[in-house]
Amino acid sequence: GEKASAPSAGAAPPLTKITVQTDWYAQPEHGGFYQALVKGYYREVGLDVTINQGGPNAIPRQKVATGAVEFGVGRTDELLVAAGQGVPLVALGALMQRDPQAILFHKESGIRDFKDLDGRGLMAEPGAVWLKILEKKMGLKMSTLPLDYGLSRFLADKKFVQQCFITNEPFYVRQQGADAGTLLLSDAGIRPYRIWYTSRSFLTKNPAVARAFTAASIRGWRDYIEGDRKEADALIGSLNPKMVPEFIAYSVGVMREFKLVEGDPSKGERIGQIDPVRLANEITELTAIGVLGRPVKLADVWDETFLPEDVRAAAARK
């Protein structure tokens, strides 16, 4: 993958080389990692980090599980499904408290709420967990069209409905003058965390590395949301030419507006945090709709000891 590493400084203690596999091309939704990279936060904790851009076939779970890379970026539901298939991956921290995944529709279509999706066609990633939840838990009957990563069909058809990132597609369709609405999946109670994770075996052998990576990443994310993003955005833009400044500004704006990264402090949420109770609920829910091949326990996928003290404390305080 594309190696985005910080320029090497002078003679420092030997750094531990690790690689992070993201789930898509470089974008603001990975901004915290790039921020930590360009600001040298990883280097400060003794890590020489390479960020592998993802893409349609990034397969971060497989890569982490086989040891091809050390850390992966994804969602908790993906991790639980993997655990259900006997793939031992452990979540370390959350880059987003709220998942930006949403439903994109034309306002003219008369969709106001999730139940209005009943009987419609929906372009979405085949086999996605949230799709099953909408179908099984909410009893919606939809025909699904496999995701093609494009928007032209949406724009051409006022009745077309598709999955989107709230930080992403609405920018382009509004640019083209479409009156698009979105429904955030988390508003339907579908609330996976976006996380970084590693394999159980790596964790056992290198707890310090995992801890350091987690702390530096959280620092990077905090800084990306609150501080000066210029360098990180420049890196993102150079890695993925689609990421022009107006678009990044839009994306980050939405992330801020919906508090995707930091969550709702009034509920005790904060950057990096994973709440064991919420994760346990997710396990229960996924077990109920039958997407877990075998029973999964919280301890299989989650070890809170890797989160920094302050973050852990915030969850407990809630």
């Binding site: 779970r61 298939q85 085949p126 086999g127 699904t144 093609d148």
Partner: protein, 265 residues
């Protein structure tokens, strides 16, 4: 007599032996390199997954086989007619061959949204995509067959004052059969793939069950790797049926005269 039955036995036994050898290698490979099953499952796991998911796979296969069959038929028919037109006159060839190449070389991912827009989501678009993927091998081969016709036989037809149409019907078409059948064999292996890609780009699913292409992504995202490979198994079975059909046709049409079939005695 005994040599024929021997060679027939060999024709059945050898692939079986290779398959066994392959499976042994497969297990050995998995054991030696400790390849986990979610990356590369063992044959028995694939079979077990195929059995577990048989209902889903069966209905998915039915969806896909329809697209593959229609796409294959249209690719072969249109490809053949197109090659006939191209072989009919060098002018037609000069005019249209580049166009056919363009259609062939346009990535399907670009064409798919257009198809979907014109033909709607579902079977027609899937068929169109399968068609686009399968028809060029038929055109290329059949055209080559048409222009490779023995020049002496061509002179015979000239002496018979055969019309262009007669020459095509009685000389070029039968003479191009060995090429045409080869193109058809390639189209046959591409048809299931085409239908799967088509399903991926223009299919739709009800209640989480679509065609094989849909199931492939679905199993993939669920990390159900053995089931993913089971979809591959289904694709292969489909492909073998197509190729088997073409081989049968090959035998039917060529065994009495063509060098590829006639045993020397």
């Amino acid at each position: 007599m005994s040599t024929t039955s021997q060679s027939r036995l060999a024709a059945c036994l050898l692939p079986a032996l290779t398959a066994v050898a392959l499976i042994v290698l497969w297990y050995a490979f998995k054991a030696v390199f400790r390849v986990p099953s979610f990356v590369f499952p063992a044959p028995h796991e694939i079979l077990a997954a195929a059995w577990d998911e048989r209902a889903v796979l069966w209905s998915a296969a039915l969806v896909t086989v329809r697209g593959a069959l229609l796409g294959f038929t249209s690719a072969v028919t249109v490809g053949f007619l197109m090659a006939m037109a191209l072989g009919f006159s060098p002018r037609i060839k000069a005019s249209f061959y580049p166009l056919i190449l363009v259609l062939q070389m346009m990535p399907v991912t670009i064409l798919a949204p257009i198809f979907v827009l014109w033909l709607g989501q579902g079977l027609p678009s899937i068929v169109a995509i399968t068609f686009v993927i399968g028809f060029f091998p038929v055109v290329a081969n059949t055209t080559m067959g048409f222009i490779s016709v023995d020049r002496n036989l061509r002179e015979l037809f000239v002496m018979c004052s055969a019309t262009r149409a007669q020459e095509v019907r009685y000389l070029r078409i039968p003479g191009a059969m060995p090429y045409f059948l080869t193109g058809m064999k390639i189209a046959g292996t591409l048809a299931p793939i085409g239908a799967i890609v088509g399903d991926f780009l223009a299919g739709s699913a009800q209640g989480g069950v679509g065609g094989i292409g849909y199931m492939t992504i679905s199993y993939f995202s669920q990390l159900k790797t053995p089931a993913l490979f089971a979809t591959g198994l289904v694709a292969c079975v489909m492909g073998f049926l197509f190729v088997g059909g073409v081989n049968w046709l090959h035998w039917r049409l060529l065994h009495s005269w063509h060098d590829s079939m006639v045993k020397k005695e």
